[in-house]
Subunit: 428 residues, 2 copies
Amino acid sequence: MKPYAEMTKEELASLKEQLMIQYKEYQERGLNLNMSRGKPCIEQLDLSMGMMDALTSGADMTCEDGTDCRNYGVLDGIREAKELIGDMMENPVDNIIIYGNSSLNVMYDTISRSMTHGVMGNTPWCKLDKVKFLCPVPGYDRHFAITEYFGIEMINVPMTPTGPDMDMVEELVSSDEAIKGIWCVPKYSNPQGISYSDETVRRFARLKPAAKDFRIYWDNAYGVHHLYDHDQDHLIEILAECKRAGNPDLVYKFASTSKISFPGSGIAAMAASQNNLEEIKKQLQIQTIGHDKVNQLRHVRFFKDIHGLVEHMRKHADILRPKFETVLQVLDNELGGLGIGEWTKPKGGYFISFDSMDGCAKQIVAACKKAGVVMTGAGATYPYGKDPHDSNIRIAPTYPSLEDLDTAMHIFTLCVKIASINKLLEEA
Amino acid sequence: MKPYAEMTKEELASLKEQLMIQYKEYQERGLNLNMSRGKPCIEQLDLSMGMMDALTSGADMTCEDGTDCRNYGVLDGIREAKELIGDMMENPVDNIIIYGNSSLNVMYDTISRSMTHGVMGNTPWCKLDKVKFLCPVPGYDRHFAITEYFGIEMINVPMTPTGPDMDMVEELVSSDEAIKGIWCVPKYSNPQGISYSDETVRRFARLKPAAKDFRIYWDNAYGVHHLYDHDQDHLIEILAECKRAGNPDLVYKFASTSKISFPGSGIAAMAASQNNLEEIKKQLQIQTIGHDKVNQLRHVRFFKDIHGLVEHMRKHADILRPKFETVLQVLDNELGGLGIGEWTKPKGGYFISFDSMDGCAKQIVAACKKAGVVMTGAGATYPYGKDPHDSNIRIAPTYPSLEDLDTAMHIFTLCVKIASINKLLEEA
């Protein structure tokens, strides 16, 4: 098949007719498939069911330091959970706070605290006329939703294959005191699966922000979520880089076990400098007496240590690898060489990012929906839901079965083809 | 023994000498006893260990409506948890949101949201010059800490045997638009163990606040925490009362299972009108994808229903009753008739409240500490830690063993006697 752009109007029209027949056939099947959210599948959830036996009624519920995990106390997490998550995040226990079940919640609370109380003695953001955040795009819709909710102005920064456009980040951050933060998913990014290069991380660590209360929001959600054993991205550790660069307080790191144990029933954590943590704990002790230590202990007893956790992630990879490969294969087979779309080939994480021809994404997602395939809303990967090119679509291959995924991707690629022809015919 | 006030200076001085000998003997024992916080004891924690077996690796993890509790989703709690907690809070499931592990956290977040986003379209509190809260005193230090943290001015309202002084509450709330809320522990109050009378609750429901965004913060922390089977306080249900009074949105109710299952590993909840809940959920969906549903399911499978929960509370009562009785007995035996202190005799909850002669509380708590008995800090039961009479001391009898409690209370009453004599001698 030749590139669509090289086809005549007549060829395109005739092709569209054939494709519409296929589309109608799919529609008649009344399918209900979902590739919209980064949800683990049932087989993945089953991997952690052993955790339910990690603490039984006869279990010793005391920590190594003698703390009874069942009672009040321990604001920032039990020591052994800090060790496990610290090893995962590549940070010492002294730089870790263990939270509740959701790192998103920790990020929200961090922004909220900055609004009401400011960051390290600086003016609370709610007292400022303008607060801005940098948003690498495409990015994670729930990040953008938080900053939007707080009325923070979001500025798009284009992603490159090595991370955000650092020239732009450096220029903006150093010149505008209203810019207080940047959302980053530095490894296997949402949605592109891009891992920031060593240079990108070092340039982040060496930023000279105009705002003293500027922080990098480093959401390392997929730090250990590789698809392959021997072909993994490596991300250098930013907290150490920041320290080395004389910017120890520049970054808040976030992580959780949501896609390791159970989404919604895992444990979340933050890593940051001791200056940052001290300030955060002053607030945290007002907000709560402590997080769920029993669940922290349950995680430690189940995974034992970082090696156990890494082994566990292999099992996730075994389930997810064929799913990613199915998506990529259908994309290659159906769209390869047609010049109507580009997509990423991540080595980990939860998503594949697809870019259609400009102005086609909404149409594609709408057409998919009418044929029974729910995709993440077009535009969702951009602040305010506005993709200036209307081209980016996030594909979440993890939840559906291989068979459903294959069907869903055939429908998706069919919709891409039809929308692209419509666009080319309009322009002709 | 006759009342201290009727003793001569010489009698008091001689008595003090004897008491100081006893005090020094206690000091030499190098004790380390703690009656400072409302922590369940180990025997109470053991009562819920069966919950660890409620979900095993072979368990069915689906809710009644088919939701897999292990995956993302369900912002406001699983249906069966809403039923259990709804029955406990005496509210329909439609008025319930199930949260994470801490109702204190929910209260903090509620204040925080009011600061940044306001309440139902009213001006965010952070944009106002002045925000005030009413604080029935003595009350719960962690409540006061939240409002203090947000720079909210706290106004003391005296407690009476039927609840807060409602004449004062009505007058203040109806005349001052800056008053946005009141902290209430309406049943077995912290620290006095007072339950609000029917009239008090009805007067709350009929408040006509000057501020449209005034809310009653109804922290029913001890709703099912009775000490006796047949001698229980009854609190009328305020949400229904508010509805009846034409004030459906006036109240936020809070509760948790922290002192039912495990402190820090229980489930928390809010009950409110649907208008309130709708607004709250708009924010909640930005803050999190959902709370820990596995732990919700674990609680439901263990307690089964409200009857199971009530039966469980009987076991707590069996452990706590002798502790409360020990405290009261030592108080009666040692201080009865001396005219140097008054105390409450609660039928439930976690505390006994003691009022010394004016100006003695700090001295008593300090003297206890030097003899190895840690009490809640004097003043802690008042906003800003300032007890205007320096007389209130909160006694938390739940954690220590009966033997330790007996010793600790003898030291406490000894310190009360000595401080009272000091005071009387000063005045003489």
